[in-house]
């Protein structure tokens, strides 16, 4: 069901979100949340499926508790998929918030971009897009550092 919901283009929910939460930050947060939630959930499910059940059985047989099994067996097995999902979720959250601001907002980078574009101030518009691009690339660099750290930990 979650995969089916993920397939629905998220932008179709945005008018409802604006009606429920208004033009302030809440509707953008809700839209970013909606875009970021599904890849993270699906990554957790895919990660849990990757765990070898025999390793869990062996760990239990050696007397490991639920927390130890999770920390020492499950987490290292699923971490790479999980971090990939978290990275995708971050990218989609950024997209959701900025797109939400462009579609309807009173403040934020998307609102400034919309303002410049609406007044045909194309130079300002491109400059604002470049600043937003730096923001997006910065968040992706942070996520890739986290992913590299996780890869080193699982190796």
């Amino acid at each position: 069901m979650i995969a089916a919901l993920y397939a629905v283009p998220a932008v179709v929910w945005y008018p409802s979100l604006m009606l429920f939460f208004g033009l302030d930050a809440a509707s953008k947060i809700a839209f970013g949340f909606l875009l970021g939630f599904f890849p993270i959930t699906l990554a957790v499910l895919a990660g849990v499926r990757q765990v070898n059940p025999q390793l869990v059985v062996v760990a239990r047989a050696y007397g490991a508790g639920a927390v130890t099994v999770f920390r020492r067996v499950m987490l290292p097995s699923m971490l790479f998929t999980l971090v990939g999902g978290l990275r995708t979720g971050l990218a989609l959250c950024v997209i959701g918030v900025v797109v939400g601001e462009i579609l309807g907002s009173k403040a934020g980078m998307g609102a400034l971009i919309n303002h410049a574009y609406g007044l045909l101030r194309t130079g300002d518009y491109v400059a604002l897009v470049l600043v937003t691009l730096v923001l997006v690339v910065g968040s992706d660099v942070l996520a890739s550092l986290l992913e590299r750290h996780a890869r080193r930990w699982t190796e």
């Binding site: 970013g32 499910l45 959250c93 934020g108």
Partner: protein, 93 residues
């Protein structure tokens, strides 16, 4: 080294194409990089949009909140679905 040079070359070609295309196009719809640089300078010096830092901060705050909520709900929902075995059920994810 070779890859770095290739990237720089590609960037230079892209900028050159943008410059030529931007000069040829309607200035209301497209601008060349040479016109973007002064606009970027004005933007960063807060001349064209004095509320840029506040807007940037607001967007960052919204992204942070949305991501924190998505991580909390996504991890929680994912682990609950995985542990209850509903993920493999017909009609499940």
């Amino acid at each position: 080294m070779k890859v770095g040079l290739l990237r720089l070359g590609l960037l230079a070609v892209l900028l050159a194409v943008w410059e030529v295309a931007g000069r040829a196009a309607n200035p209301l719809l497209a601008v060349p990089p040479s016109a973007v640089l002064p606009a970027l300078r004005d933007l960063l010096l807060l001349r064209s949009y004095p509320d840029l830092p506040a807007s940037l901060l607001l967007t960052l705050r919204e992204i942070g909140t949305a991501y924190a909520l998505a991580v909390a709900a996504g991890l929680g929902c994912g682990f609950v679905l995985a542990c209850t075995g509903s993920s493999g059920a017909p009609g499940g994810p």
